[in-house]
Amino acid sequence: AGQSGSDGRRRRRITVRGLVQGVGFRPFVHAAATDLALAGWVCNDSDGVIVEVEGSPGAVAEFGRRLTADAPPLAVIERVTATDLAPRGDAAFTIARSRAGDAPHTMVSPDVATCPDCLRELADPADRRHRHPFITCTNCGPRFTIITGLPYDRPATTMAGFPLCPACAREYRDPRDRRFHAQPIACPDCGPRLEFVPPGTGPAVLGEDALAAAARLLTVGGVVAVKGIGGYHLACLATDQAAVATLRRRKRRGDKPFAVMVADLTAARRLAHLDRAEAAVLAGPARPIVLVARRDDGRPALAAAVAPNSPDLGLLLPYTPVHHLLLAAVAAAGGSPAPLVMTSGNLGGEPIAADDADARRRLAPLADAWLRHDRPIHVPCDDSVVRVVDGDPLPLRRSRGFAPLPVPLPFAVAPTLAVGADLKNTCALGTDRSAWLSGHIGDMDDADTVRAFTAAEHHLERLTGIRPTALATDAHPGYRSRQWARRHAAGRPVRSVQHHHAHVAAVMAEHGLTGDRPVVGFAFDGTGYGTDGAVWGGETLIADYRGFERFAHLAYVPLPGGDAAVRRPYRMALAHLWAAGVGWDGGVGWDGDVGWDADLPPVAACPAGERRALAHQLATGLACVPTASMGRLFDAVSSLLGVRHRADFEAQAAIELEARARRCPGGPDAWRNRYAFGIDRPVPGGPLVADAAPVIRGLVRDLRRGLAVEAMSAGLHAAVVALVVDLARQARSERGLDVVALTGGVFQNVLLATAAARALRAEGYTVLRHRRVPPNDGGIALGQLVVAAAGARE
């Protein structure tokens, strides 16, 4: 029952919460209100957008409908509340000044790729922003990385130092303009400047000359540090073998693939096979790096050093005007369009360089020159990485373009900070029914990353206004993230969450499960600290948010020498051979064979002295920790089959093993039942234990018979799929559960993720996979958050 004035007018105050700032929401409101001849005002406050409209009851009702139905494309409306007020007789509709509050819960938009309207103007010689490298509007441009505080207004961004010229100010004030209240807008007269800093001591050049100089240097094989949205990239011609090899050497990158930027989808299709879903993700407003299957006949031919031994290519499209202009300039300078390697400006493991002085120092040994500008980056944000699995996006790194969009939670949580895991670290802040995740921060091995973590966490607190009253960490006693939490606890409770429980809870949360019924969670990864002090990683957990039961796990094998076993997969292969009773250490083997089986690739790959010491370690347990890791099993088999004995980067051995299986005609199905895990319950009432020894022995037998590596790798994948199905059946028959979650870094393996999901669905299970956060440790913070919050509710 609304209050109506004597003339039948009605006034309503509507509060909109969600992602409604910096996305053109107020101009949209202004346009809708004016169109319906309503009076009143709209403003941003720290809680969202507040509107008061006054007019005929019909128009007010229609306005309420349009507010949610016709909202701008980038807006995400979480909640709308409305109250009726007494009419005041306003004559017009105005946009009022933003109000600051003390509890900002407004969402900040992620950074958005340059929109089609801006691209049109960029290319239009008649437009006053023709070729302006910082063209943006309400629908595109930097947001998260330039916002220093809330509410989101120009003074609270790194554009504060660029006063608007009269022409820009007119657009900014005009509610009918696409740039109405778009905070980062600028033009050649008032905006940031592009600058090229050449090699040596030559003078810097500006604007068009800067672009031309950078393009020239790239076409002759130079490496240019290019300042983007969330940090610096290192760029070079992806077709130039010498340039790519130089960059690889300087970055000390090993064989880890580089991402490649191409001008558009047409150019992308010349390099890789894209399906519709992949094309949509590639060209979407977040513009992540998308891992796609490369074409054998790709044009132009990429340098082999771009992605050695990889059947996939990480592609991305330009997402800033500078990228568009640079790719065009390179095409002009080189006579034909050329894809560019675009890799994060850092040494492996370090956070991406974003501050100009820091970049100058840290990238000096890596880059020949700089293409940069004077719009500061307030918070670094690395490129996101996505892969498409069965038509659904699977995030591998959730960062630029996604951060800091909140993930809705299935239940309300007290203000909590989850500090994540130590590799691929992200942190998460939660309150009520939302979790805000930071961008990708990096590996906490590095002191600079620990510092970057502190900065990212503070920024997230400022943007969300959440003051956490509790902290959540991994249970691993050596994690720096955990040590950080303890150092910063200041009396607040710090809750430990078991690593694989966090993985499973993360999938549950992003699928909105309330947790009334537990799920069967398969958490397969490399390393996670177990409640028994062992290294877990081949886990089947029956879990809800409050707790978990270890339903099944891989049989323990010794992990000899901690991180050394991870960096040298041949050590893991020898450990698995030893556990399977395959004699390579001079003893009598399971097959009666005696002696050093030098025919096995890992035996040959391991230096003799190390082999003797390793045999002793395995026999005595010296510097060994028991592990149930599925990731290490893939490493071991990769070395056993001679695919990869030393890993330059995380999961390299497993990735190359998967690549072999993908080349197998018929895939894993063709080698079903070739190898099988032994499943047993050694302790009555205890977990089921899946023994890899029969698989290892089968592989050794086939290796000696000369079976193709592709077939053996496919057979391993098939055996793991069969294991998952067997354990799921067991959980259904014992507990009546039929919702299965697949998580952990091992499920980045497309072949495994696809085949396991298909096999489970065929048997009537509901299969949950990650869609919003990565299955790897980048998703751990979300899981920690919900587990810690659920535990605190008890």
């Binding site: 040494l347 020498g561 991180d563």
Partner: protein
């Protein structure tokens, strides 16, 4: 059990179990290698340590000289001149007398070399199976010269971190002997008394802020304890830390970190930058400091972390060793 490993777990025992229980006028306030107490007008350094090494004899030494050098070094690490030792033996029933005699000989010889007098002692025998042959406890007294104030809490940003020689030899020697492993050249324990070296360093007149002997938990544990004790950061250049090739090879083969391996004849010194060269020169002139090196600096940044600049240009965080080899890589 990792609680004796000298790493994070032993630190937790001390912090959460012993200190609360001992709180009172008797409990030390700062955790140094030795306590400095006033006694009859003199500043007396006072420490005790128990030795439980297996095997009893290893290349370069035995439990006898360890028991002397360990306690002498703890006294030296507060700048004291070691004077008197008390020693207590716990013997397992059935231990060979000849073996015990060799241990006692070594102990006596080590005391003579270090210039300390053995003035009192005790012996107990436990049933067979209740000990590893011989356990030794030694307690030491020393005199701290006037004006000397050496403790972890004095490390200041800008100070230079020195180490007196190649690290990791003792741990690798004992391990390879116990496990019957050979790593090319035999690695010998570095067990040695450091009081002479410390006296020479003090004689330079330099204002030495901190001394520690990186025994259990190695250099990693020692640097972390100093960083925490003084609430400072420590930045180490990985390549500047001297490690003998056979020690490095053994660690690589076994998957161990040389920074976390025990030493029994090395010290870490933290000195003002202005004094660093002078102190280093004197150290290098001394037989127990021939391979001394400046390995890093105390920083305001990153407190209380220890950070190593790696050969690759990265910056690795050096943890307090956990006492077991848990991988962190996923």
């Amino acid at each position: 059990m990792g609680h004796g490993g000298g790493g994070a777990m032993s630190a937790e025992l001390v912090e959460h179990l012993f200190l609360p229980a001992f709180r009172g006028p008797a409990a030390a306030t700062e955790l140094a290698d030795a306590a400095v107490v006033a006694l009859g007008g003199a500043r007396v350094a006072f420490t005790t340590d128990s030795f439980v090494v297996r095997p009893l004899f290893f290349p370069g030494g035995c439990i006898g000289d360890l028991a002397v050098n360990g306690t002498v070094n703890d006294l030296a690490m507060v700048g004291a001149t070691p004077c008197y030792l008390a020693t207590a033996f716990i013997l397992e029933e059935g231990t060979e007398l000849a073996e015990l005699a060799r241990v006692a000989e070594a102990l006596g010889a080590a005391a003579r070399v270090a210039g300390v007098r053995l003035v009192t002692g005790d012996t107990k025998v436990v049933d067979a199976g209740h000990g590893d042959g011989v356990y030794i406890n030694t307690t030491g007294l020393g005199l701290v010269p006037d004006g000397v104030d050496i403790r972890p809490g004095r490390a200041r940003p800008g100070d230079v971190v020195l180490v007196s020689g190649e690290i990791g030899a003792h741990g690798v020697a004992v391990l390879s002997c116990r496990e019957g492993l050979e790593f090319g050249t035999q690695v010998r324990s570095d067990t040695a008394p450091l009081s002479g070296l410390v006296a020479a360093m003090l004689a330079t007149g330099a204002d030495i802020h901190t001394l520690r002997d990186p025994t259990r938990g190695g250099l990693a544990a020692t640097l972390n304890e100093i960083a925490r004790g003084a609430q400072v950061g420590i930045a180490v250049t990985e390549r500047a830390v001297p490690v003998a090739a056979p020690v490095a090879d053994a660690c690589s083969v076994l998957g161990l970190d040389p920074f976390a391996i025990a030493n029994e004849g090395k010290l870490v010194a933290i000195v003002p930058a202005a004094d660093a060269d002078r102190v280093l020169e004197v150290m290098r002139a001394h037989p127990h400091g021939r391979d001394a090196a400046a390995i890093g600096t105390v920083t305001e940044d990153n407190a209380p972390m220890v950070v190593a600049r790696t050969g690759l240009g990265g910056s690795r965080v050096i943890d307090l060793p956990m006492g077991s080899e848990l991988p962190r890589i996923c």
